[in-house]
Symmetry: C2
Subunit: 438 residues, 2 copies
């Protein structure tokens, strides 16, 4: 069927916050404030988070919403150069309205998806930073507009027990999503296969909390070679989360914690049908000597019980939705990153679903129902259904300026500079994008 964009109800399971300067003001104990991360303006005009010896710039690709594509790049930016919707919640909601997005789950930027920036020597300080971030995010950012944000907590990545405690603490505030890493071993912690993490798995199962694993959250990017062009990494980015999916699918975690649920955030869906075919064939050919045992189920069945996938604009995945599982696919906007079609995402999605022959029942699952069920989230408790559609939200945003806030006044990097910076990102690990302060 053909879909009218205005009639859709959209929940995006992957968007991003560029953290504001006052992040730690209200929630960090006074004794830690002097040493907390803070935004400073560098001589080159970029606003960066400085934390001890480390600087985390805000890479332009992470906040290009509204820019012409000619202005994409990897230059650091100042807050004046990006949309205020990146870091001011009231402005964010206006930008969501302009794109017809009812609700959104927001991943962190400068701490890294697994908050490994906060894994400092003074563990008490690190824990205070995680808690302050989570309180700010849940109480202030999400709390400012009930029904508009799916709250998500940062993990205590260096301590499974304390991480479990934090999951329980935020669950009491209604938060059922934990940003986690696609590969703890790559960060220097015990792997998914180590019983070390069992207290955390127990906590997420007890509290109905989804492990939201964002691509790139291992701090590893796919650079086949140091001089590979940036396009290679951009191409491979959403395909490498299959490594995390395989690592978890074959692990003891799913067998011993049957209630655990995982979202492959920004992981895309186009690779999933072949992945499921491959795991079933692997099981059929090899389980007799590898010792895998899923009882009377196949690995693809197990995947569908435990994994939520999502896509921005993915013809292959939507076309093959029944090979993936219609209850396992959700949509994301990816605001304000460069893969996002904001503010025209509803038009792109409606066309894509129409071309793929999606039914109305299937569309409801993809656009919002799967996200609601998965994340124990009910926006309609706060926003009446008739005010929740793309059309109604856009009406509410009438007059809101969706052009960019300010054009960059800096020179574009040369191709050689792009390459040099890119290599630096690859070597530094883009999970946080941290650099040593010069």
């Amino acid at each position: 069927m053909a879909f009218a964009p205005e009639g859709l109800v959209l929940i995006s399971v992957d968007d991003h916050i560029i953290e504001p300067p006052d992040l730690f003001d209200a929630h960090l104990p006074e004794r830690f404030k002097a040493d907390a991360p803070r935004i400073v303006r560098r001589d080159d005009g970029a606003d960066v988070w400085r934390f001890g010896e480390v600087e985390v710039p805000n890479v332009a690709l992470n906040a290009v919403a509204g820019r012409p594509k000619e202005e994409y790049g990897v230059e650091p930016q100042s807050l004046e150069e990006i949309r205020p919707g990146c870091f001011i919640v009231d402005e964010r909601v206006k930008d969501m309205n302009a794109c017809g997005v009812l609700s959104s789950m927001n991943f962190p930027s400068f701490p890294g998806f697994a908050a490994r920036l906060f894994a400092v020597e003074d563990e008490e300080f690190g824990l205070a930073l995680v808690r302050a971030y989570n309180d700010w995010h849940i109480d202030e950012w999400c709390g400012a507009h009930p029904g508009r944000f799916i709250p998500m907590a940062l993990p205590v990545i260096w301590d499974a027990e304390k991480c479990a405690d934090e999951v329980r603490r935020v669950a009491d505030k209604g938060c059922h999503s934990l940003s986690f890493t696609e590969n703890p071993a790559a960060l220097g912690y015990p792997s998914f296969h180590d019983p070390y993490w069992d207290p955390l798995w127990t906590a997420v199962c007890d509290t109905d909390t989804v492990l939201s694993i964002h691509l790139g959250s291992s701090g590893q990017l796919s650079f086949p070679a140091p001089d590979s062009p940036p396009d290679v990494m951009i191409t491979l980015q959403p395909m490498n989360i299959q490594s995390a999916a395989a690592d978890l699918l074959w692990s003891r975690v799913l067998k011993e914690f049957p209630a655990i649920r995982i979202a492959l955030s920004e992981g895309s869906t186009g690779w999933v049908p072949y992945f499921l075919e491959r795991v079933d064939r692997t099981y059929d050919m090899h389980h007799r000597w590898t010792g895998q045992d899923f009882g009377d189920r196949m690995p693809s069945d197990v995947f569908r019980e435990h994994f939520l996938t999502c896509f921005i604009s993915d013809h292959t995945g939507v076309y093959l939705r029944n090979q993936i599982g219609i209850d396992n696919i959700s949509w994301e906007c990816d605001y304000p990153h460069s893969d996002s079609a904001w503010p025209d995402a509803p038009e792109e999605l409606a066309q894509l679903m129409g071309e793929a022959g999606v039914t109305e029942v299937e569309a409801a699952k993809i656009t919002h129902e799967n996200a609601m069920r998965w994340y124990s989230f009910d926006p309609f408790a706060h926003v009446p259904r008739e005010q929740a559609t793309v059309g109604a939200l856009r009406d509410a945003a009438a007059g809101h300026d969706v052009s960019i806030r300010a054009m960059s006044n800096r020179e574009k990097l040369t191709a050689a500079q792009v390459q040099a910076r890119w290599q630096n990102m690859g070597q530094g690990g883009a999970g946080t994008g941290a650099e040593r302060a010069s």
Copy 2:
């Protein structure tokens, strides 16, 4: 349409040789013979190739054709424990007949796909080993049964100029395939992006030689963590060659050497539709700042000009064959590896193509025509068409025993031993499977 397996004509673009003990007898100059690699029987009963300090065992997964799946594993084996078709060419042809395979391209085993075992300090010695291997392979193995083998050369991986010379030398003997690495940078050589390789690219273009890049040929396997189960690596294996495809597709190589052609051997096809969708979107969103320029073509067009894909048993890829390109898909048997359905591969393939609605014209391309065109190979110059079908070849093999030659008389490894051995493979690099002699 429904396909009768007996009517198919099958050319397999990926099978494997387990090299025989007399490999170097006829073709290596006398002065190098004392130091050449040789097969020795270890105390544990395994036949291994010993070369200086290095031992390369023949891992059981690499030669399980005919075995019940309970006997798969990673134990080293003796030659008596594997089918003689693995290493004796007349027996190989009988095994091909029993499976109805007209022609086959055979990758090496103990030297590694890129022959990096021969990259020794004495470069003259190394070059002599490469040449001796190639002469043995082309003249003896392939030469014994004209029309039954697509000849393929090993590269001089440590020297682009000498590699170019070798490509020209073997092309004069009718060899138009070069086994190469998916990532030279991972082996410690200049990357695909370095002009260092230009003499080789010139030579393969001049001689109409296909770069046949086998998965795993970078010596890197996908182990998310040291304690990931073996199933994880098996799952991810055919999906990681997308990294090589991306690295080459965005490189200057394809732009500056428009005649270059690459086969993604054992790379599978199920991931390709999404990959092509992804590269086109990447181009659309990012080329203005990354500087990529394909003129009036899209990256997916460029892929179809340069890349041949292949599959063993891949429903997703065959179903989406028109998203991949019907002229870019070929079939492989993978004898005698564990992913192969030998000797029942024709039945598996016929059923798969029937279910996917493949037409007769499409089936001819997939089963043999694409392989013939791609590798400048014409089996019908030697084997009349009416003797080339699965049915005719199987008739010729009547009475040939397709059961296993001998059951293993060794204890199966325990799960812990499997895991330990697996980790050792991962750390040692499975490109050759080389171990230090104990």
